[in-house]
Amino acid sequence: MLWIPMEQVPMDSPLTFTLILLISYAAGLLGSLAGVGGGIVVVPALTLLFGVEIKQAIAASIVAVVATSTGAASTYVRDRVANMRLGMLLEVATVTGALGGALLAAWVSARALFVLFGGLMAYTAWNMSRNKRAADRDLPPSPLADRLKVHGAYYDQAAQREVAYRVTRLGWGFTVSGLAGVASGLLGIGGGVLKVPVMNLLMGIPVKACTATSNFMIGVTAAAGAAVYFMRGDVRLAVAAPVALGVLFGAKTGARMMNRIHGNVIRIIFVIILALTAAQMCWKGWR
């Protein structure tokens, strides 16, 4: 196994820099396709392979979330796969939730919450894997969604047609986005794994638009956290710089690939990441 303790190799060595860059490239690629931050790849890789302190690894992973989002979102927004209005609307709930979660952190047991959210995610992964798309069923009309003009349309390059969809159940979207924010403020997990399923299963949004919109949103929530870590000096440049660069290029590649990939493949990638996150969280809660 690759094992490069930080004490023996200075982090500024080109070899370590390149290795972190490559792993982060993969994280950015996967994260941009699935609409998540890629912390599930970055944190274990940095702590286990490179012996980075957990605090610095988490700080680097929050920078990675910002990089995934920012790197991919320019493409997703331009191609209208990311629903900008919906994203901005739900961001209100996410950033407020994240602030609430950070305030609550001193008062609640993170352990129990890890198990709770882990269970919730496992259940969601199972639901998503069955491919019961909301679009297949009758969707209730949403006058609020009409008024807020959040319905979307984009050109799907894999299906080679324009995909138009109507958004519904904004209340659910708002509630879960808020919860996703709380989870990210409280537990440090990215909110993407919670937002994508609710958008896809309940709100009538095609899976590509879900992951792209989630991707668009996560950068804003993470930016506040990243800025705080940055000011506290937890962002170690020798770690964060290769992570940020690798993730940015990975996310750019992912965003260019995504529209040409079939929606079902995106869904499977997301379900796998969701299941892994669920397992990781349950483990954190139990041990």
Binding site: V66, A73, S74, T75, V95, G219, V228, L248
Partner: protein, 94 residues
């Protein structure tokens, strides 16, 4: 003015400027060793990356104002205010 291309360009500009700064800073570190200039350039690149999503929200606020879209102006202003609040809270509690 369509908001999508403008927002896309804001994000793109932020990304490429921060990439340029980080690549220059890291390259300088390897070639000449970590001095205050290279570390400064690297730090500026990371700071710009972290600021880009916030700049994106600010740019949307301007766009919605130009469109006279009151509801989304309010939505965007709330996001910015909560972000500012989170940042101040995080900075003072750290």
């Amino acid at each position: 003015m369509k908001p999508e291309p403008v927002i896309s360009n804001v994000l793109c500009l932020g990304v490429w400027m921060s990439v340029a700064l980080m690549v220059t800073g890291s390259g300088w570190c390897f070639i000449a060793g970590a001095d205050s200039l290279s570390v400064g350039v690297l730090t500026a690149g990371l700071a710009l990356l972290i600021a880009t999503p916030v700049l994106r929200v600010a740019a949307s606020l301007v766009l919605f104002w130009l469109e006279r879209d009151r509801i989304y102006m309010l939505i965007t202003a709330v996001v910015l205010a909560v972000l500012a609040g989170s940042f101040i809270l995080g900075a003072i509690s750290g």
